[in-house]
Amino acid sequence: MSDTATGRSDHTRYLGPSDRVGLFVSDDLITIGPEATVRQLAIRLAAEGVGTLVVNEDDRILGIVSERDVVFAIAAGRDLDSSTVADLDNPDVVTCTPDTTVNAAVVLMMEHYVRHLVVEDLSGPVGVVSARDLLGAYAA
């Protein structure tokens, strides 16, 4: 099998709504523990250059945190050096598999009012796919 299961290196054509989500999955699953403080979360988001991190503990996925969650914590006046990722109000994680179609993934996002899905295969989570990642499939 080629590396397209998780990578996006060898596209030679435009991807469309009936393609597999696996083709859009970001390269690495970037995670953070629930005990990290909100400020550590901000530093991690900045260092990784991403807008979202997966919250995990012992291979178990607890949620997704984003820049928006940090903004909400600032707005709520939380102490950013003592409140933790676990204190943030993360919605339940919505998952799909690499074989889910782009169309089905978009429907999932709309049904659950989320912009990110955790992509899992039999071995566990392999990445995250965002609404913006998939938008290209419709605009191409």
Binding site: L45, V70, V71
Partner: protein, 154 residues
């Protein structure tokens, strides 16, 4: 279409001297990720949720620090009456994802690449549906019923 027609959300602003925390509250309440930074009715910058995180919190700034410390400036603007196509050009030639739409000196709203993409995708879908139907559905004039068959109500 004019630039103003590409604005999907009314513009929300904050003053440069206000604290980061206030910008966060406005973003939260208005449900937006970008604020115009406005000083004496003049648009002087843009601040995004990402700026609050990466240039603020991650750089050890306190929520009481001023918005102007984390904003982006100058701002790419487009006139409200300008052709929307000129927005595409600006996006292409500058590495920005948002343009501030101004009417004279007044900030009226934001155009984002994402909003334009969503509109374009919807337009494309409208355009391609009839064409796809023509291409993929078998069209065979000979099989079209042209007269009533036995047993039909008509």
């Amino acid at each position: 279409m004019r630039a103003i027609d590409g604005v999907r959300r009314s513009g929300v602003g904050v003053r440069p001297q206000r604290p980061i925390r206030e910008a966060a509250i406005i973003m939260d309440q208005a449900g937006v990720g970008t604020l115009a930074v406005i000083d004496d009715d003049r648009l002087i910058g843009i601040v995004t949720d990402r700026d609050l995180v990466r240039r603020g919190l991650a750089q050890d700034l306190a929520p009481t620090a001023a918005v102007e410390k984390v904003m982006s400036s100058p701002v790419f603007t487009i006139d409200a009456d300008a052709d929307l196509h000129s927005a595409f050009k600006l996006f292409r030639s500058n590495a920005v994802r948002r343009l501030a739409v101004v009417d004279g000196d007044e900030f009226v709203g934001m155009i984002t690449v994402d909003d334009l993409l969503v509109d374009l995708a919807a337009d494309l879908a409208d355009l391609t549906r009839p064409i796809a139907a023509e291409i993929f559905l078998p069209v065979d004039d000979a099989d079209m019923p042209t007269t009533a068959q036995d047993g039909d109500d008509e």
